[in-house]
Structure formats: C-alpha cells, structure tokens
Chain length 251, copies 2
C-alpha cells in the first residue's frame, strides 16, 4: 500500500517517518524546503495523487483550500485521512468538497515530536470514521493498535467537546505562560518544572496550530470563558481574604 | 540532639518523620488529633520546650501568635527554625518577637509529601541564616546535604522574589485549574496529564498555604498582575485573529 503524506511541516515529517516503518510512504510538500528521510521518499504532486491513501498533515485553516485542489485531481477510491486537532470542521469540509467516490477517515494523533520523544507506545489516537467502510476503518484501527497506540473511536462532536478541555486548555495555559518569560530556577519545585514543561511542549508547536485549535473547535470558547471566570474567582477570593484576614471559611 | 517539631499538619508530620531518621524527634501539636509515627515521639508543650532545636511547621499566618507564646517560655540558646514558604515576613516576626538569646535560622523545604513521594534526593531546600552563628548554619547546611537535598543559601528577599515566580505561580495556576473540575480523559495528551498533576499537587496542600503564599510574599502581587496581563493579551490575539483571519503575522 502506497501512503502519501500531504504537508511536511513539523508534524507531517514526524508522522511520515513513523508510518514509514510499516508502509511505503511518499511525502509531498508545496514548498521545497522539506528534508529527505530514511523512512519516506519525497514525491511530486503527481506522485502523491498515485497513492492509495493520502494523509493530510496541513494546518486546520488550510484544509478547505487543499481539499478543493485535491477534489479535482484524486482518483476514485482514494482514501483521504486528515490528522487535524479538531474534527467537526475539517470532516465537514472534506465531506462537502471531495467527490462521493473518495473515502474519508478522520484521525487525530494526540501527540507530536515532543510528547513522543520516547516513543509512541501508549499514546492516544482518535479515529472518526466519516465516509468509509467498516472494513477500512477496522484496518486502520488495527494498524494503529499494532503500532502501540491507544485507539479511541469517537464522533467528531465527542472529540471536540473532550479536546477543548484537554488539549485546548493545555495549549491556552502554555501560551499564557509563554508570555511571561519564566526561567528555570535552582529552587524550582517539582510543580514549577511541570509548568515549564507544559510551556515548552505547547510553545514548540506552530503558532498557527494554537490559533486553529482555539478558533475551529466550537467548544473552546466555553473553555476559555470558564478559565477566565475561574481566574477572576481566585483573584476575588485573594482580595477578600486580604481584607478580612486569611480565613478559609470565607470562601 | 533533641529536635522538636511544632505543628503536625500534613507538612509537619512529613518533616518530623523525615528528620526522625537522623535525630531524636519530638512532635508537638496544639490539637490532639496528631497520629503517632515510628520516626518521632509525640510530646507535650513542656516536652517541646526542652528540645535543643524547635522547627516551626505552622501556617505563615500563625507564626506571630506562636512566636509570642514561645518567646515567654523558651530556654536561652534554643535554635528556632521556621519552614515557611515565604521568608521576609516570618523572619521579621521571629527576630522582633523572640528574645536575643534565641537563635533563628530560616529554612524553606521546597517540597512536601506529594512532590517527595519518591524520596527527597535532589529536591531543593533554601537556608536563610537570620540570627545564628556560621557554625550552626553550616551544621544544618551539611546535614541537609547529607540527606540528599540540594541546599541553596539566599537572603529572605532573594528567596521571596524567586519563589513568587516559581512556587507562587504554580500554586495560583493549580488553584485556577482546581476551580474547573477537570477530569482525566482517555484521550488526554501528555501536556494535559502534567496540568492535572499540577492541579493535584497544589490543591492537596492546605488552602491556608495558598492564601498565605499569595498574601505574605510581597512579590506575588506583581506575579498575579503579569499573569492576568498575559491572559488578557492571549485572549485579545484570539479575538483579533478570529476577525482578520488566522494570520500569525498580525501578532
């Protein structure tokens, strides 16, 4: 099976290399800066189109444009998988844009080059079958399981609701911390070290991923409102206890 | 050497047990709920007063009241060590309240039962000599080093300035997250798991510690203002990029 990876950014290169240990992987990038790898072969747009499976590793905000271009050129019965960090928006775009003969399987590998530094074993991946036979979904479910991943099938809505409060909040907190120029300290507590790790992991990801996570997941607005309210409540408790003595019962 | 621990809350019990592996440790609590341990002996107030060293494991906001009562009863040449998470305020109180014949050595063990679950080796402790000979300071510095701790001598001001941006911010973020009732998830990313760990570690500590850390460290107000501004800046960037398209160059 020939697997094409569309987009060789930080995640695309990582995912092409990972899949390259099991499949014949061809990597395509619109910009020629992409670096060759032992585990996949660089290819042209035509080379990409000849693959049986095309995995989109493009930013969420680029999915529509990419889908429109592929819609004209794909051979019938190609399987298109996305890897976006939100699921409702890109799967709606792909179903609307790609012709009926093209299969669509949503995936969200919930890790990247940083969090998978010590291997992908046990890390979660979400599968969201969209326009695809159960046979094809099961094949990929089994494949990811054999790769050691923890596979979770869920609907796009289930994924986005859950991810807003797990991935979305982590990236938001990481970016807020990123604004503060925090430094390591010889007297850092264990908790502070974890805070620095969160900042590093999230701020290493592309800025565009952060924006897209917050804009294209319909549930992150609520998460940000909840977070802002919690922040304000804790500040208010501190103001109140400062005036009235630090009595925990006033809380 | 007889070491008395005043206060057997969560940290006091832990510290008495830890020191009990090297010293004859006597634990005193004003409330009789304290549990016995293999590593230290429960004692009365009179028993505590007969110790050579008295280590205060009371909340920061209780230091003044405790110091006033001890001031009347301590034998000359007793060494009083505090363990507070801020240093300028308690050391000012102790110097002002305890009679001249009493030695004062500030300490801040920057860990607790949670962060030291796998042992204290390598964890940081701050030493702030206040009214004490170099000989006594060096003895405790050497003792803590032999226990495997990473010892850092610093002034009370240095400690508080640094701790506001390490311990203070960690506890603040942990308490904000604590308001949100976040749950573990099968699709949790590595970063989200770290966020949950921060919440658990900080919210397991007494609420009073959180209030005291924020109220008695003169540098935490600035930290909270910086954090609030960073939060607002990130929200503003999201609003702006939502209107104008998710273009990273607008940042």
């Amino acid at each position: 099976m020939r697997v094409g990876v569309y987009g060789l950014g930080r995640f695309g290169r990582f995912w092409a290399e990972t899949l390259g240990t099991r499949f014949e992987v061809y990597g395509y990038s619109r910009t020629p800066k992409a670096i060759a790898s032992r585990h996949f072969t660089l290819t042209t747009y035509e080379g990409l189109l000849s693959c049986d499976v095309i995995i989109l590793c493009v930013s969420i905000s680029a999915v529509e444009e990419v889908a429109r271009s592929l819609a004209r050129d794909l051979s019938p019965s190609t399987l298109v998988m996305d890897t976006c960090s939100v699921k409702t928006y890109p799967l709606e775009v792909l179903s609307r844009t790609l012709p009926d003969g093209i299969d669509i399987l949503g995936t969200h590998p919930m890790f990247g080059p940083d969090s998978a530094r010590e291997g992908i074993a046990g890390l979660p991946i979400v599968l969201t079958p969209c326009r695809v036979t159960e046979e094809v979904s099961s094949f990929w479910e089994e494949t990811f399981r054999e790769m050691g991943l923890s596979v979770h099938r869920m609907t796009a809505e289930e994924h986005d609701r859950e991810a807003a409060y797990t991935q979305g909040i982590t990236h938001f907190v990481g970016r807020v911390l990123g604004e503060l120029h925090l430094e390591d300290s010889p007297i850092a507590t264990v908790g502070y070290r974890k805070l620095l790790e969160i900042r590093e992991q999230t701020c290493n990801d592309p800025w565009q991923l952060f924006l897209d996570l917050q804009h294209y997941n319909p549930y992150t607005r609520r998460m940000r409102e909840d977070l802002a309210q919690a922040f304000t409540r804790i500040l208010a408790v501190l103001d109140r206890t400062l005036d009235g003595g630090a009595d925990p019962s006033v809380r």
